[in-house]
Amino acid sequence: MNRIALKMLMGDRGKYFGIVMGLTFASLIMTQQPAIFVGLMTRTFSFISDVGLPDIWVMDAKVQFVDDIKPLQDTELYRVRGISGVEWAMPLYKGLLKARLTDGTFQTCNVVGLDDTTLIGGPPLMLAGRLEDLRRSDSIIVDIDGIKEKLTKPSGTAKGKSIQLKIGDSLELNDHRAIIVGIAKVTRTFQSQPVVYTTYSRAKSYAPKERKLLSFVLVKAKSGQNLTELAKRIRDSTGLAAYTSDEFKELTYQYFIKNTGIPINFGISVLLGFIVGAAIAGQTFYNFTLENLRQFGVLKAMGTSNWTLLRMILLQAILVGTIGYGLGVGLTALFGYSMRNTILAFRFPWQLLIFSGAGVSVICVFAALLSIVKVIRLEPAIVFKG
């Protein structure tokens, strides 16, 4: 009977494709929009991910997220270094500074100052130049997206394309000359500002004069240390906040979830997609059953049990659900792949596959249930009605 069920389903190609397309659309919406949401939310803590080496981030106790900089006194660095279980502790400056471009315009940049000696906290991937070149005077490393999009030079002609900065070109950071010695690839940040790396001491000279300029203390735990316990020891000893990398990411993520409209906006879009997809797919599948009601009636009259008919409908629902889900997820993956080098935030973790799979399953089960109820209630005597 399974073969008959499948032949019934695919017999009318137009309707079959209609159901599959409805489910594809639902699946696409349920993966593509959340993938953009996840991508966007991942960007909120991308800086923490990029600074991969330290185990624990130490900061002012009132810091709410990674860009909420509340500077510390440099002496805090030495206090942290003195805590047992700390392998090393390094300073990190992070702040927004205005860069003056060659055409006189200004661009706000995310300036990161790395420990002068170890350069810990540097970019995850160098595309041109070397990280060690930061030891040269006035040197900075700029991220490739910033170079391509926001830190360009005018071409000099009216309609000419703007020119990308290259190694050797210079910027002005708060009236200080800064020479590009390297180009790095970093994960885009939430604000998508250019990221400029320099040394900690040079970053302090670029930054407006303040009594405190230390943004974070990056801590590496000694081998075998329990990170949660070490973070607690740092908190207890210094009165500062200390988070493991994952905790700091979670803190940042939760801040954006609670204090921005992003989740609700994306939630509405995903919900609408689910409802529209469910309506299209569910109604098409239900209509398909209604149109085949006489055929189910014939099978019932000839002695097919309700259980067998139920299995047939479930098989049909599972098949269209699986194909629709596969196509939808495939289209989402294709979308993500084609947008991989653009500003669009896109991240497609395996949890989204489960989420959308569950969504499509709900649609299919719902549509199948409606159909099953109709078929089970069907009087086989319908077959004698002309």
């Binding site: 032949k7 009318d12 014939v298 099978l299």
Partner: protein, 235 residues
Amino acid sequence: MNASTIAVHCENLVKVYATGDQKVTALNGINLDIALGELMMLVGPSGCGKTTLISVIAGILDQDEGTCELFGHNLLTMRSSEKLKFRAQNIGFVFQAFNLLPALNAAENVSVPLIINGVKRQEAERKAVTLLEQVGLGARTKSLPSELSGGQQQRVAIARALVHNPRLIVCDEPTSALDHESGRKVMTLLKEVALHKDRTLVIVTHDARIFEFADRIAKMDDGHIINVSASTQLN
């Protein structure tokens, strides 16, 4: 008729359809016996209860009162699963609108009753092809219903009704969708291929042109059987 030769025994059958406050009595005390090997036609005006009667006889509709026995079995007292099995094994259907599954070819359509009875697909289709050859459609076994004429579709439907060798075949207006010539061919086929001493045919029809094929004709009106006669006596 003695009990061993009776295929269908109906006694005081009553069936009432209720829609809202309205009640329509479709069968109003039907008494009818149909013998094994007999071709019985049920005739009468629209709404007289013919279709309701064959639905009850075929076990796809339960009567409200009275008894209907099929080969000595009272379907009303059977459990649902037993009734399904009984129907699958003992009854073949031929419908006015053919009711072939449009996505299945002729052989697949004919094999459906066998598959319902648990026969393997290859074996079922082999038997289906044999039967299609018997009804003159050996060359069209792979054709979809949409590729067949009305007469050919009805022949496929007859093959489907016969393939599992049922003891009762119920036909609802089997010729009304066909022209005169095709109708006669279908009836000849039913009489020659379907009917034998261990099988009974009950045919509901309006088509006076085919009355001559019946052994007996039960004339119905307003939920009653008003007359049962040999076909030669009706006209």
